[in-house]
């Protein structure tokens, strides 16, 4: 059985953090052990004064992960982390995830170093060195990171203005991280405001560029859904390569990345279909934000999209998003 330990936020209403990751992974056959870094009524996009609940303190998180580690040190085939509210909780997560990874060297650790987006930090600055410590750790325990471009620039300590610079950044980070997936690049990087570009890089290979049409709306939780799906597909990727089921790693990696983005695209289309006509959510307007929550439940049948089903599943929109034009 596939079992993942996922440490990120929990919201009672809506789909971000563990709420966005858990159900899709469960549909894909994963036992998901959710360790909640916060419990909020809804996500903070509703307006900070409209969110009720609490963050899990460093001490409480330490206690919780200690219990999990003592009872189930060898139960996991993968580890996932997302939003953690502060320095202490990032450090605590790191402390136990390192222990788990050392106990289970063949497991897959996917880390979304959630710090901010589009030039804005949404954690305190003192969180940055904690993520750097985990990512640049000489023990090389983290397998995959999923920063957005802003977070990548923070980790790399430099602005990235061209694709060549992006490749140089990858080379630098590949010293300790085998797989880097930049979930959304700035539109200036490819001079194209109409598409979202995702670039995925495996150490020693040319990066894979994927391009999906931009859907005009404000959705939250997409990044959390992304890292969850990526975890599933990269776990399968590793398995197929190790077991010798596939001997074309490059094609398989492209295929898996394509699957992740196709699932997301279909979830967004379903979400849009359910939303009131032409509604664009406005951050801070709770009643409107509410209608733009990802339709995670209604998307039950799209999580297992495979590229080879492209012609068979007419109910879905399956495209090749690989971008070769550079």
């Amino acid at each position: 059985m596939k079992r993942v330990l996922a440490t990120q936020s929990h919201v009672v209403y809506g789909y971000v953090g563990n709420k966005a990751a858990t159900f899709p992974l469960q549909c894909l056959g994963w036992d998901v052990d959710c360790c909640n870094s916060v419990q909020f009524s809804n996500h903070t996009g509703y307006g900070i004064d409209k969110v009720f609940g609490n963050v899990t303190s460093e001490k409480a998180l330490d206690d919780l992960l200690r219990g999990v580690f003592i009872n189930f040190p060898n139960s996991y085939s993968a580890f996932l982390t997302g939003y953690l509210p502060n320095k202490g909780t990032v450090r605590t997560m790191g402390k136990y995830y390192k222990k788990f990874k050392i106990e289970n060297p063949n497991s897959l650790w996917v880390m979304d170093p959630v710090m901010g987006d589009e030039g804005q930090l949404y954690v305190n600055e003192d969180v940055i060195p904690e993520y750097k410590e985990l990512i640049f750790n000489p023990d090389k325990l983290v397998d995959v990171i999923t920063p957005n471009q802003y977070e990548l620039e923070i980790l790399y300590d430099k602005k990235i203005n061209t694709f060549e610079e992006l490749k140089t950044a990858f080379q630098s980070l590949h010293a300790t991280i085998p797989i880097i997936v930049v979930t959304s690049c700035y539109s200036t990087l490819f001079n194209d405001p109409n598409h979202i570009y995702t670039v995925a890089s495996i150490k020693g290979q040319e990066p894979v560029i994927l391009r999906v049409p931009l859907i005009e709306s404000y959705f939250t939780g997409v990044g959390d859904l992304f890292s969850a799906l990526l975890l599933d597909r990269l776990y399968e990727y590793k398995k197929d390569i190790i077991k010798g089921i596939r001997d074309d790693p490059r094609n398989l990696f492209e295929e898996k990345m394509n699957e992740v983005l196709n699932v997301i695209q279909n979830v967004l289309l379903i979400t849009k279909k359910y939303a009131p006509n032409s509604l664009k959510s406005v951050i801070g307007d709770a009643t409107k934000m509410k209608d733009m929550e990802l339709k995670i439940i209604q998307s039950k049948n799209v999580y297992d999209i495979q590229m080879k089903d492209r012609d068979a599943r007419k109910d879905l929109h399956i495209h090749n998003f690989i971008f070769n034009a550079l």
Binding site: F23, Q26, K50, F52, D63, L64, R66, V68
Partner: protein
């Protein structure tokens, strides 16, 4: 629910439940047992966690903490109801061990159900099992108070909880009937009662489940439907939480729609018992396979983790048990 849905492809609004129970990182009890089955059956589940533990206490060691009662109440009343203007089809409440938390949440949910008659409250009065109380004596009084005053759609005590709430020891079918009579007398605002897994000495090979609808036209008659489910030689942590979740779904979605409340309750309970039995059997078989490598079968009297993910087909595909039915009678 605000927002007009103009899209014709979407015929039915997704049902939404607020589920207030415990959370464990590892395993399937409380909200972890209820959420996935309900989601997989098409529900939006707003899971409010009363505690966060590493695993359930059935393991020898666990860590974790409880959320404060005020925090839980604020999340519901300020976050969900006031700010987001949410409306629920159902509210599911399970394990709430904290005395003050139980009182506050009980008051709040009672008021919500009073304000909006369309919310259906399924209350699992979690007190203990097999003759053992696992909350404080004070919790019993609070549950009794809630049951006396609130309008609750369905209450799902196990045998021990039914005994505690009615002060009637259940040893045979006549005493089971007495327990239902006392329950109806003490708690007249409750609409439906389902007593799960009663063990009767005269029927050692089966677990008995019983249900009754109290808001029948005929106040003088009490009809109780009884089902007999062949016993599986193990106890399963989380089975009660799974039961209340799938019962909730069956009460909302049983097709064809039965002609009255009593028929609905009886049909929904029967379907729930069949689904639960199928999931427990699969859990047992899969656990047995794991155990064969390491331990003897004697150790399998308590199964700690339901195999819910591996049972997802059983939640939605009725053809998998279309030939199963359990013996039914009335008293």
């Amino acid at each position: 629910m605000t927002g007009n849905n103009n899209n014709q492809e979407i015929s039915e609004r997704t049902k939404r439940v607020l589920s207030i129970q415990s959370h464990v990182v590892h395993g399937y009890v409380g909200n972890k047992a209820a959420t996935f089955p309900l989601q997989y059956q098409g529900w939006e589940v707003d899971a409010l966690n009363t505690v966060q533990f590493s695993n359930h206490p059935g393991y020898q060691f666990f860590t974790g903490y409880s959320s404060s009662p005020n925090e839980l109440v604020d999340i519901i009343s300020k976050g969900l109801i006031d700010e987001s203007e949410l409306s629920y089809d159902a509210i599911l409440t399970g394990y709430i061990s904290d005395v003050e938390g139980l009182r506050k949440i009980g008051d709040l949910i009672s008021q919500l159900c009073k304000d909006s008659k369309k919310i259906k409250w399924l209350l699992d009065p979690v007190l203990g099992d097999n003759g053992k109380l696992y909350v404080s004596e004070e919790n019993i009084k609070i549950y009794q108070e809630i049951l006396r005053t609130a309008s609750i759609y369905v209450v799902t005590p196990n045998q021990f909880e039914m005994e505690v709430l009615t002060n009637v020891k259940i040893t045979d079918l006549p005493s089971l009937r007495v327990a239902f009579e006392v329950f109806r007398e003490h708690y007249p605002t409750i609409q439906n009662v389902v007593v799960t897994s009663v063990e009767l000495p005269e029927h050692p090979d089966v677990l008995t489940s019983a249900c009754s609808t109290f808001n029948n036209a005929d106040k003088n008659k009490l009809y109780i439907d009884i089902f007999e489910v062949p016993i599986i030689p193990a106890k399963f942590s989380g089975s009660g939480d799974l039961f209340s979740a799938i019962l909730l779904n069956n009460l909302f979605s049983y097709k064809p729609v039965p002609k009255n409340e009593g028929e609905l309750l009886k049909s929904a309970l029967h379907r729930t018992l069949i689904q639960e039995d199928a999931i427990l059997k699969r859990t047992y078989e899969l656990t047995l396979k794991e155990f064969n490598h390491t331990q003897t079968i004697d150790n399998l009297s308590i199964v700690k983790d339901l195999k819910l993910i591996q049972s997802k087909d059983l939640l939605v595909d009725e053809s998998l048990y279309s030939n199963v039915s359990f013996k039914c009678s009335s008293i």
